[in-house]
Protein backbone atom coordinates (compact mmCIF):
# COMPACT_ATOMS: atom_id res chain seq x y z
CA UNK A 1 0.00 0.00 0.00
CA UNK A 2 1.24 3.49 -0.85
CA UNK A 3 2.09 5.69 2.12
CA UNK A 4 0.70 8.84 0.44
CA UNK A 5 -1.75 7.79 -2.25
CA UNK A 6 -2.68 10.51 -4.73
CA UNK A 7 -5.75 12.47 -3.61
CA UNK A 8 -8.82 11.59 -5.66
CA UNK A 9 -11.63 14.05 -6.55
CA UNK A 10 -14.74 13.77 -8.63
CA UNK A 11 -15.59 15.96 -11.59
CA UNK A 12 -18.09 16.38 -14.36
CA UNK A 13 -16.55 16.57 -17.80
CA UNK A 14 -18.54 18.95 -19.98
CA UNK A 15 -18.77 19.02 -23.75
CA UNK A 16 -18.91 22.69 -24.69
CA UNK A 17 -19.13 21.99 -28.40
CA UNK A 18 -17.88 19.38 -30.87
CA UNK A 19 -14.27 19.86 -29.83
CA UNK A 20 -14.03 21.76 -26.55
CA UNK A 21 -14.12 19.99 -23.18
CA UNK A 22 -13.96 21.43 -19.67
CA UNK A 23 -14.65 20.17 -16.18
CA UNK A 24 -16.33 21.30 -12.98
CA UNK A 25 -16.29 19.82 -9.50
CA UNK A 26 -18.52 16.84 -8.80
CA UNK A 27 -20.90 18.94 -6.68
CA UNK A 28 -21.15 21.94 -8.99
CA UNK A 29 -23.49 20.50 -11.63
CA UNK A 30 -26.98 20.41 -10.14
CA UNK A 31 -29.40 20.06 -13.05
CA UNK A 32 -29.52 19.38 -16.76
CA UNK A 33 -32.14 20.88 -19.09
CA UNK A 34 -32.73 19.37 -22.51
CA UNK A 35 -33.65 21.82 -25.30
CA UNK A 36 -33.90 24.77 -22.90
CA UNK A 37 -36.10 27.79 -23.61
CA UNK A 38 -33.66 30.68 -23.85
CA UNK A 39 -34.64 34.35 -23.61
CA UNK A 40 -32.52 37.03 -25.25
CA UNK A 41 -31.16 39.88 -23.14
CA UNK A 42 -30.09 42.91 -25.19
CA UNK A 43 -26.79 44.68 -24.61
CA UNK A 44 -25.24 41.59 -23.06
CA UNK A 45 -21.84 40.15 -24.01
CA UNK A 46 -21.73 37.87 -27.07
CA UNK A 47 -20.88 34.80 -24.97
CA UNK A 48 -23.77 35.40 -22.55
CA UNK A 49 -26.74 36.71 -24.53
CA UNK A 50 -29.52 34.72 -22.90
CA UNK A 51 -31.19 33.71 -19.66
CA UNK A 52 -33.38 30.76 -18.75
CA UNK A 53 -36.03 30.34 -16.12
CA UNK A 54 -35.17 27.81 -13.43
CA UNK A 55 -36.99 27.48 -10.10
CA UNK A 56 -38.65 30.88 -10.69
CA UNK A 57 -35.29 32.56 -11.13
CA UNK A 58 -33.60 33.91 -14.21
CA UNK A 59 -30.20 32.33 -14.70
CA UNK A 60 -27.53 33.64 -17.06
CA UNK A 61 -26.71 31.18 -19.84
CA UNK A 62 -23.09 31.23 -20.90
CA UNK A 63 -21.80 29.87 -24.18
CA UNK A 64 -18.14 29.29 -23.42
CA UNK A 65 -17.49 27.95 -26.92
CA UNK A 66 -18.54 31.40 -28.21
CA UNK A 67 -16.09 33.00 -25.75
CA UNK A 68 -13.23 30.70 -26.71
CA UNK A 69 -13.84 31.00 -30.44
CA UNK A 70 -15.34 34.45 -30.94
CA UNK A 71 -17.12 34.92 -34.24
CA UNK A 72 -17.40 31.19 -34.93
CA UNK A 73 -20.75 29.50 -34.30
CA UNK A 74 -20.49 26.63 -31.83
CA UNK A 75 -20.71 23.14 -33.33
CA UNK A 76 -23.46 21.36 -31.44
CA UNK A 77 -25.79 18.65 -32.70
CA UNK A 78 -27.98 19.07 -29.63
CA UNK A 79 -28.23 21.81 -27.06
CA UNK A 80 -28.44 21.20 -23.36
CA UNK A 81 -28.12 23.63 -20.53
CA UNK A 82 -26.37 22.59 -17.35
CA UNK A 83 -27.32 24.44 -14.19
CA UNK A 84 -24.34 24.96 -11.88
CA UNK A 85 -24.10 26.02 -8.26
CA UNK A 86 -21.36 28.32 -7.05
CA UNK A 87 -20.52 30.61 -4.14
CA UNK A 88 -19.46 34.14 -5.04
CA UNK A 89 -17.12 34.03 -2.03
CA UNK A 90 -16.53 31.76 0.91
CA UNK A 91 -19.59 31.67 3.17
CA UNK A 92 -21.88 33.30 0.59
CA UNK A 93 -25.19 31.60 -0.19
CA UNK A 94 -25.34 29.30 -3.19
CA UNK A 95 -26.01 31.02 -6.48
CA UNK A 96 -26.73 29.45 -9.85
CA UNK A 97 -25.80 29.93 -13.46
CA UNK A 98 -26.09 27.88 -16.64
CA UNK A 99 -23.71 26.77 -19.39
CA UNK A 100 -24.65 25.64 -22.88
CA UNK A 101 -23.50 22.09 -23.50
CA UNK A 102 -23.35 19.85 -26.56
CA UNK A 103 -23.78 16.54 -24.76
CA UNK A 104 -24.50 14.75 -21.50
CA UNK A 105 -21.73 15.43 -18.95
CA UNK A 106 -19.50 12.56 -18.01
CA UNK A 107 -18.59 11.65 -14.42
CA UNK A 108 -14.90 11.20 -13.73
CA UNK A 109 -12.43 10.59 -10.92
CA UNK A 110 -9.46 12.90 -11.01
CA UNK A 111 -6.29 12.34 -9.04
CA UNK A 112 -3.85 15.08 -8.06
CA UNK A 113 -1.15 13.50 -10.17
CA UNK A 114 -3.29 14.11 -13.28
CA UNK A 115 -2.66 17.85 -12.94
CA UNK A 116 -1.41 19.50 -16.10
CA UNK A 117 -0.75 22.88 -17.69
CA UNK A 118 -3.63 24.56 -19.53
CA UNK A 119 -3.92 24.03 -23.27
CA UNK A 120 -2.20 26.87 -25.15
CA UNK A 121 -5.12 27.22 -27.56
CA UNK A 122 -7.67 28.68 -27.51
CA UNK A 123 -5.95 31.42 -25.51
CA UNK A 124 -9.20 32.20 -23.67
CA UNK A 125 -8.79 29.18 -21.40
CA UNK A 126 -6.50 31.26 -19.20
CA UNK A 127 -9.45 33.44 -18.23
CA UNK A 128 -11.90 30.59 -17.70
CA UNK A 129 -9.94 27.96 -15.82
CA UNK A 130 -8.37 27.63 -12.40
CA UNK A 131 -6.42 24.49 -13.23
CA UNK A 132 -6.30 21.59 -15.63
CA UNK A 133 -5.87 17.85 -15.67
CA UNK A 134 -4.89 15.27 -18.22
CA UNK A 135 -7.24 12.51 -19.22
CA UNK A 136 -5.74 10.17 -21.78
CA UNK A 137 -4.42 12.48 -24.47
CA UNK A 138 -6.87 15.27 -23.61
CA UNK A 139 -6.20 18.32 -21.48
CA UNK A 140 -9.34 19.21 -19.51
CA UNK A 141 -9.40 22.72 -18.01
CA UNK A 142 -11.33 23.08 -14.73
CA UNK A 143 -13.70 26.05 -14.87
CA UNK A 144 -13.64 28.83 -12.31
CA UNK A 145 -17.42 29.14 -11.97
CA UNK A 146 -17.52 31.94 -9.34
CA UNK A 147 -15.27 34.06 -11.56
CA UNK A 148 -17.36 33.37 -14.66
CA UNK A 149 -20.77 34.00 -13.11
CA UNK A 150 -19.81 37.04 -11.06
CA UNK A 151 -18.73 38.95 -14.15
CA UNK A 152 -15.00 38.25 -14.27
CA UNK A 153 -15.05 37.93 -18.04
CA UNK A 154 -16.60 41.37 -18.57
CA UNK A 155 -13.18 42.94 -18.09
CA UNK A 156 -11.50 40.59 -20.57
CA UNK A 157 -13.49 41.39 -23.74
Amino acid sequence: MLENPPKDSTAWILTLDGALRAAVGGRELVYLIEAPTLLDVPLSPPYCRQVLVWNENLLPVMDLAAYLRPGKPARRTQTLAGVFAYQAKSGAPLAYGALLLAGIPEWAHVADDHASALPKQPAGWRALAISCFKRGDDLIPILDLPYLFTGGLLATV
Binding site: V41, P42, L43, S44, P45, C48, V51, G97, T150
Partner: protein, 158 residues
Protein backbone atom coordinates in the same frame (compact mmCIF):
# COMPACT_ATOMS: atom_id res chain seq x y z
CA UNK B 1 -26.11 60.28 11.50
CA UNK B 2 -25.82 57.33 9.15
CA UNK B 3 -27.35 57.90 5.75
CA UNK B 4 -28.38 54.87 3.77
CA UNK B 5 -28.47 55.07 0.01
CA UNK B 6 -30.83 52.65 -1.62
CA UNK B 7 -29.50 50.75 -4.61
CA UNK B 8 -31.29 51.32 -7.95
CA UNK B 9 -32.72 47.79 -8.01
CA UNK B 10 -34.40 48.22 -4.61
CA UNK B 11 -35.77 51.59 -5.71
CA UNK B 12 -37.30 50.03 -8.82
CA UNK B 13 -38.86 47.23 -6.77
CA UNK B 14 -40.98 49.82 -5.00
CA UNK B 15 -42.49 51.03 -8.26
CA UNK B 16 -46.07 49.85 -8.64
CA UNK B 17 -46.71 50.49 -12.33
CA UNK B 18 -44.59 50.34 -15.44
CA UNK B 19 -45.17 51.54 -18.96
CA UNK B 20 -44.27 49.08 -21.62
CA UNK B 21 -42.53 50.42 -24.74
CA UNK B 22 -42.11 48.16 -27.75
CA UNK B 23 -39.12 48.84 -29.99
CA UNK B 24 -38.81 46.50 -32.98
CA UNK B 25 -40.58 43.77 -31.04
CA UNK B 26 -38.49 44.07 -27.88
CA UNK B 27 -40.13 45.14 -24.63
CA UNK B 28 -38.66 47.90 -22.49
CA UNK B 29 -40.31 48.96 -19.23
CA UNK B 30 -40.12 52.39 -17.62
CA UNK B 31 -41.70 53.66 -14.42
CA UNK B 32 -45.18 54.84 -15.37
CA UNK B 33 -44.66 58.07 -13.44
CA UNK B 34 -41.97 59.07 -15.94
CA UNK B 35 -44.41 59.08 -18.88
CA UNK B 36 -46.03 62.50 -18.93
CA UNK B 37 -48.11 62.15 -22.11
CA UNK B 38 -48.48 60.26 -25.37
CA UNK B 39 -48.27 61.90 -28.78
CA UNK B 40 -48.44 60.53 -32.31
CA UNK B 41 -45.36 60.32 -34.51
CA UNK B 42 -47.30 62.42 -37.05
CA UNK B 43 -46.81 65.32 -34.63
CA UNK B 44 -43.02 65.21 -34.92
CA UNK B 45 -41.60 68.31 -36.57
CA UNK B 46 -38.52 67.00 -38.40
CA UNK B 47 -37.17 70.52 -38.89
CA UNK B 48 -36.55 70.99 -35.16
CA UNK B 49 -33.52 68.77 -34.65
CA UNK B 50 -31.06 67.90 -31.91
CA UNK B 51 -27.75 66.34 -33.05
CA UNK B 52 -28.93 62.71 -32.94
CA UNK B 53 -32.69 63.23 -32.80
CA UNK B 54 -35.30 62.77 -35.50
CA UNK B 55 -37.23 65.96 -34.71
CA UNK B 56 -39.21 67.43 -31.88
CA UNK B 57 -42.78 67.55 -30.58
CA UNK B 58 -44.40 70.68 -29.23
CA UNK B 59 -46.13 70.05 -25.91
CA UNK B 60 -47.31 72.57 -23.34
CA UNK B 61 -45.43 75.36 -25.04
CA UNK B 62 -42.08 73.57 -25.22
CA UNK B 63 -40.19 71.50 -27.76
CA UNK B 64 -39.48 67.95 -26.67
CA UNK B 65 -36.62 66.37 -28.64
CA UNK B 66 -37.57 63.02 -30.15
CA UNK B 67 -35.13 60.14 -30.54
CA UNK B 68 -35.47 56.88 -32.38
CA UNK B 69 -33.85 53.83 -30.75
CA UNK B 70 -33.34 50.31 -32.04
CA UNK B 71 -34.47 47.28 -30.04
CA UNK B 72 -31.01 47.36 -28.40
CA UNK B 73 -31.20 51.09 -27.70
CA UNK B 74 -28.90 52.19 -30.50
CA UNK B 75 -29.76 55.60 -31.89
CA UNK B 76 -31.27 55.41 -35.38
CA UNK B 77 -31.11 58.33 -37.81
CA UNK B 78 -34.50 57.55 -39.39
CA UNK B 79 -37.85 56.32 -38.11
CA UNK B 80 -38.59 52.71 -39.17
CA UNK B 81 -42.04 51.93 -40.56
CA UNK B 82 -44.52 51.02 -37.86
CA UNK B 83 -43.27 53.45 -35.21
CA UNK B 84 -46.36 55.50 -34.39
CA UNK B 85 -46.43 56.48 -30.72
CA UNK B 86 -44.23 58.92 -28.86
CA UNK B 87 -44.31 58.77 -25.05
CA UNK B 88 -43.09 62.05 -23.59
CA UNK B 89 -40.62 61.07 -20.86
CA UNK B 90 -39.98 63.37 -17.95
CA UNK B 91 -38.24 62.56 -14.68
CA UNK B 92 -37.90 66.15 -13.55
CA UNK B 93 -34.36 66.44 -14.87
CA UNK B 94 -34.50 64.88 -18.32
CA UNK B 95 -37.26 65.55 -20.82
CA UNK B 96 -37.50 63.96 -24.27
CA UNK B 97 -39.51 61.51 -26.35
CA UNK B 98 -38.92 58.18 -28.10
CA UNK B 99 -40.68 56.91 -31.21
CA UNK B 100 -42.13 53.48 -30.35
CA UNK B 101 -44.09 50.73 -32.07
CA UNK B 102 -46.45 50.41 -29.12
CA UNK B 103 -46.91 51.89 -25.67
CA UNK B 104 -49.11 50.37 -23.00
CA UNK B 105 -49.44 50.14 -19.25
CA UNK B 106 -48.32 46.92 -17.65
CA UNK B 107 -51.24 45.70 -15.60
CA UNK B 108 -50.62 43.84 -12.35
CA UNK B 109 -47.55 43.47 -10.20
CA UNK B 110 -44.30 42.46 -11.82
CA UNK B 111 -41.53 40.52 -10.14
CA UNK B 112 -38.25 42.21 -10.93
CA UNK B 113 -35.15 40.08 -11.34
CA UNK B 114 -31.67 41.56 -11.06
CA UNK B 115 -29.56 41.48 -14.20
CA UNK B 116 -27.06 38.63 -13.71
CA UNK B 117 -23.65 40.03 -12.80
CA UNK B 118 -21.96 38.33 -15.76
CA UNK B 119 -24.30 40.02 -18.26
CA UNK B 120 -24.36 43.67 -17.26
CA UNK B 121 -21.64 46.15 -17.96
CA UNK B 122 -21.32 49.01 -15.48
CA UNK B 123 -23.01 51.49 -17.82
CA UNK B 124 -25.82 49.24 -18.99
CA UNK B 125 -29.21 51.01 -19.13
CA UNK B 126 -30.90 47.75 -18.07
CA UNK B 127 -31.71 47.98 -14.37
CA UNK B 128 -33.73 44.78 -14.01
CA UNK B 129 -35.48 42.03 -15.96
CA UNK B 130 -39.13 41.03 -15.85
CA UNK B 131 -40.63 37.78 -17.06
CA UNK B 132 -43.75 38.54 -19.10
CA UNK B 133 -46.27 36.31 -20.87
CA UNK B 134 -44.72 37.35 -24.18
CA UNK B 135 -41.09 36.92 -23.13
CA UNK B 136 -38.63 39.06 -21.30
CA UNK B 137 -38.95 42.76 -20.49
CA UNK B 138 -35.97 45.00 -19.72
CA UNK B 139 -36.51 47.63 -17.05
CA UNK B 140 -34.83 50.94 -17.58
CA UNK B 141 -35.38 54.55 -16.61
CA UNK B 142 -35.60 57.92 -18.32
CA UNK B 143 -32.31 58.84 -16.63
CA UNK B 144 -30.54 55.76 -18.05
CA UNK B 145 -31.78 56.46 -21.58
CA UNK B 146 -30.87 60.15 -21.26
CA UNK B 147 -27.35 59.13 -20.20
CA UNK B 148 -27.08 56.80 -23.19
CA UNK B 149 -28.16 59.57 -25.57
CA UNK B 150 -25.80 62.08 -23.96
CA UNK B 151 -22.88 59.63 -24.30
CA UNK B 152 -23.67 59.14 -27.99
CA UNK B 153 -23.92 62.92 -28.50
CA UNK B 154 -20.56 63.41 -26.76
CA UNK B 155 -19.03 60.90 -29.15
CA UNK B 156 -20.40 62.86 -32.12
CA UNK B 157 -19.02 66.12 -30.69
CA UNK B 158 -15.60 64.57 -30.19
Amino acid sequence: MIQRTQNPFDTLREIRAFTRLTLDGRTWLLPQTEVQALEMSLDIDPEVRTPLGVGAIAFEGEWWPVYCLSSELRLLPHIPAGRRICPLLNNGADRFSLVCDQVETLVGSSRLHPVPACMASRNSPIQALVLLDQGLGCVTTTESIARLIATAEDRVDA
